[in-house]
């Protein structure tokens, strides 16, 4: 079966000596009769970008939602920084330092950048919104991520380009001392230049020590930024390896044809 074949063997102990920030072992999730995730193993180390690849319906979204507390798993174990982790709500996940940037970004177009970044977690001063403090923090966060293309943090999000909106959504996730930032198709709606901008932002996040998990269909993006690649197929983890040991064809084969044929004959190939 999958569990014995790949996941644990290749990457678990082999990767690095320390425990990864997040470790999943045998995680399963079903919705009624539908088995969305079957005994999934996954390690997400800090300071690295882990790409989660998979065809439509492979279980990528369920995976994200399991980690971010929206769909708690039915079976299996999760460890956060070496300690057993149990999250049942997005709030609990956020409290641990898990932030998710969904594909729709969840930004309010009518609010400005500062208001969006602090939405739901406003800083208060004597019962009133503390705009100065929030504006400063927002500017510092954007500057630390080298997001310099926005004209002013007081402009409405509606006036931003797609890449800028993505950057704001990412900065919003980073603002909260997050340790793991999960991104769902961060470049799906972007043009070439904007994609490059967002990918370099993703890279900087990992360089700053955040664990980053990105979900993507786009092989170019995956090989651009990912340090490690995990491939899901029909709810099972069919491979989880350093990106250097993979190439596009292997990933596509893993995504489409599945476990046995390709994984049976490992072909470590550098780009």
């Amino acid at each position: 079966m999958t569990t014995t074949a790949e996941g644990t063997a290749s990457s678990g102990p082999a990767g690095d000596d320390e425990l990864p920030l997040l470790r999943l072992r045998g995680v399963s999730k079903h919705f009624g009769p539908v088995q969305a995730l079957t005994e999934v193993d996954l390690d997400i180390p800090a300071g690295q970008v882990t790409a989660l690849a998979g065809d439509n319906g492979a279980g990528k979204s369920v995976m994200i939602k399991t980690i971010s507390g929206i769909h708690p798993p039915d079976g299996g174990q999760m460890w956060w920084g070496g300690k057993p982790m149990r999250v049942h709500t997005p709030g609990e996940a956020a409290a641990l330092g898990i932030e998710t940037v969904y594909q729709d970004l969840a930004l309010c177009d009518n609010l400005d950048i500062v208001q969006n970044m602090f939405l739901g977690r406003e800083r208060m001063h004597r019962g009133q919104l503390n705009e100065e403090s929030m504006e400063n923090a927002a500017r510092e966060t954007l500057a630390s991520l080298a997001v310099t293309t926005v004209r002013s943090v007081r402009q409405a999000v509606a006036s931003l380009s797609g890449g800028q909106r993505q950057s704001v959504a990412i900065a919003k996730a980073v603002l909260w001392n997050s340790k793991l930032v999960i991104m769902d198709e961060p470049t799906a709606a972007l043009g070439v230049a904007q994609t490059a901008m967002v990918l370099s932002l993703v890279r900087r996040l990992a360089d700053r020590g955040h664990a980053v998990m990105i979900v993507s269909h786009n092989m170019n993006d995956v090989f651009d930024v990912a340090d490690r690649i995990a491939v899901l197929r029909l709810g099972r983890m069919v491979a989880e390896r350093p990106a250097a040991e993979m190439d596009r064809q292997i990933v596509v084969d893993l995504m489409t044809t599945g476990v046995s044929t390709r994984v049976a004959q490992p072909r470590p190939r550098a780009e």
Binding site: C108, D109, L111, L129, R151, A158, L160
Partner: protein, 427 residues
């Protein structure tokens, strides 16, 4: 700051202002010229704010003045502001519903119910003191808002239907309380003075100076604090200009109010109603602009799903907004009854609510949710009162007034829709 800007032209190069090559990423306090230019850019980008309504007010004033030179007399202008009070108050309530992207059609008759409850309680046969009667009326309205808001948020019914039912239901309740007589006279002097009482001439000056002083001090302190912290703020010259402008407006208003506007006996002084509208405006502007609740109302109107994911309690915020909407309508009802010194079945809540929606939209509040201010309700209310008043002076019938008001409303909604289309990323 950094060279990590987008290297190549972005796909949406039609918004060149997103990258400012001269000052880098984050602009802060700068010259008055640059600040104004940015405001102009914002307006052209679709954030029109109060500009259309102010332009519309000027246009209406010039038009009516040229047709009848009585329009811009002190007496008529003060009357106009007093007439506008009920519309403005109702519209400020409606703004809460519109900001959520909802609508409240019941507030006309909720205002009527407020008037009836107050008049009944203060009547000699019941004999409550004036303040208790008003408090009870406002409390009743707040409860109505909670009830309607709960139906909308808990059962998930459309606000249009729930408040349409409210329009019929509260009209029925109002008629029931009014009973066979069909009207209640108000004999309480305090309540009657809300609608027709005025400050003394000196009182008007003192109150105006205090208000402008507090506003000016706050504005100055906030802007200079922001400038000191290196945050986005207008330059000092603009801050001073803003304060001076408010002082000039205040002086003009007091001069207008202190001029004799009586026909047979001299009448002068600042009507309490105008102060009441200002007080409600200040309160709701504070609630919407400075409190978490207000921020969440805008967030829900902009993107309810994003608000939900941010952990905001949508039901609670929505229900509270409907409560404040009905509560404000209750204040309007008190003013309405107080001006007439009575309340009767003649109250047309249907027209009132349509005027209040129209006023909010004319003032600049978006029907699509998420954009609007309490100030918009006040300005829109003044426009509607101005049309009513000006056409009345010219001897037009009610029919003509309705038609013109409808056209103005259409123009306002068109401006909103066109501005909506111009907003880059669309909402």
């Amino acid at each position: 700051m950094s060279d990590l800007k987008e290297a190549t032209p972005t796909p949406d190069a039609e918004h060149p202002e997103t990258v400012d090559p001269t000052t880098g990423a984050v602009q802060t306090a700068d010259t008055a010229g640059a600040y104004l230019r940015r405001s102009v850019a914002r307006i052209r980008g679709g954030e029109t704010g109060v500009l259309p309504v102010v332009a519309g007010l000027l246009l209406v004033s010039v038009l009516f003045q040229s047709l009848n030179d009585h329009f811009l007399t002190a007496g008529n202008l003060v009357n106009l502001l007093v007439q506008a009070a009920v519309f403005s108050l109702l519209a400020m309530g409606e703004v809460f519903a519109l900001l959520l992207g909802e609508i409240d059609l019941s507030i006309g008759f909720v205002a009527g119910l407020s008037a009836v409850v107050m008049s009944e309680l203060v009547s000699p046969s019941v004999g409550w003191p004036w303040w208790a009667a008003i408090a009870a009326a406002l409390l009743a309205c707040a409860l109505i808002g909670i009830l309607q808001g709960s139906l909308i948020t808990r059962i998930g019914l459309p606000s249009f239907v729930v408040t349409l039912a409210g329009l019929l239901f509260w009209q029925g309740v109002m008629l029931r309380i009014l009973g066979d007589g069909g009207s209640i006279l108000i004999e309480d002097d305090t309540i009657n003075s809300i609608g027709s009482g005025t400050l003394t001439t000196i009182g008007g000056w003192v109150v105006m100076l205090v208000i402008v002083g507090v506003y000016g001090l706050q504005t100055w302190r906030r802007d200079s604090r922001r400038r000191g912290a290196g945050l986005m703020a207008p330059p000092p010259s603009l801050t001073v200009a803003k304060i001076v402008a408010s002082l000039v407006a205040g002086v003009l208003l007091v001069l207008l109010c202190n001029a004799d506007r009586g026909v047979l006996v001299p009448v002068f002084g600042m009507p309490y109603v105008i102060l009441l509208v200002f007080a409600v405006l200040a309160l709701w502007s504070f609630v919407l602009g400075r409190l978490k609740f207000g921020r969440y109302v805008y967030a829900i109107g902009g993107n309810a799903e994003a608000a939900r994911r941010a952990g905001i309690n949508l039901r609670m915020i929505r229900t509270t907004a409907f409560m404040l909407c009905s509560f404000t309508a209750g204040i309007a009802g008190v003013v309405y009854a107080s001006r007439l010194r009575s309340i009767s079945t003649a109250l047309d809540g249907g027209t009132l609510v349509l005027y209040s929606v129209a006023a909010a939209v004319i003032g600049g509040t978006s029907l699509f949710g998420g954009r609007g201010k309490a100030l918009h309700g006040v300005l829109g209310g003044i426009v509607i009162a101005a049309i009513d008043n000006g056409m009345g002076l010219l001897g037009f019938s009610a029919a003509a007034k309705y038609i013109v008001t409808a056209l103005v409303l259409l123009i306002a909604v068109s401006i909103d829709a066109i501005a909506q289309r111009k907003r880059p990323a669309g909402t």
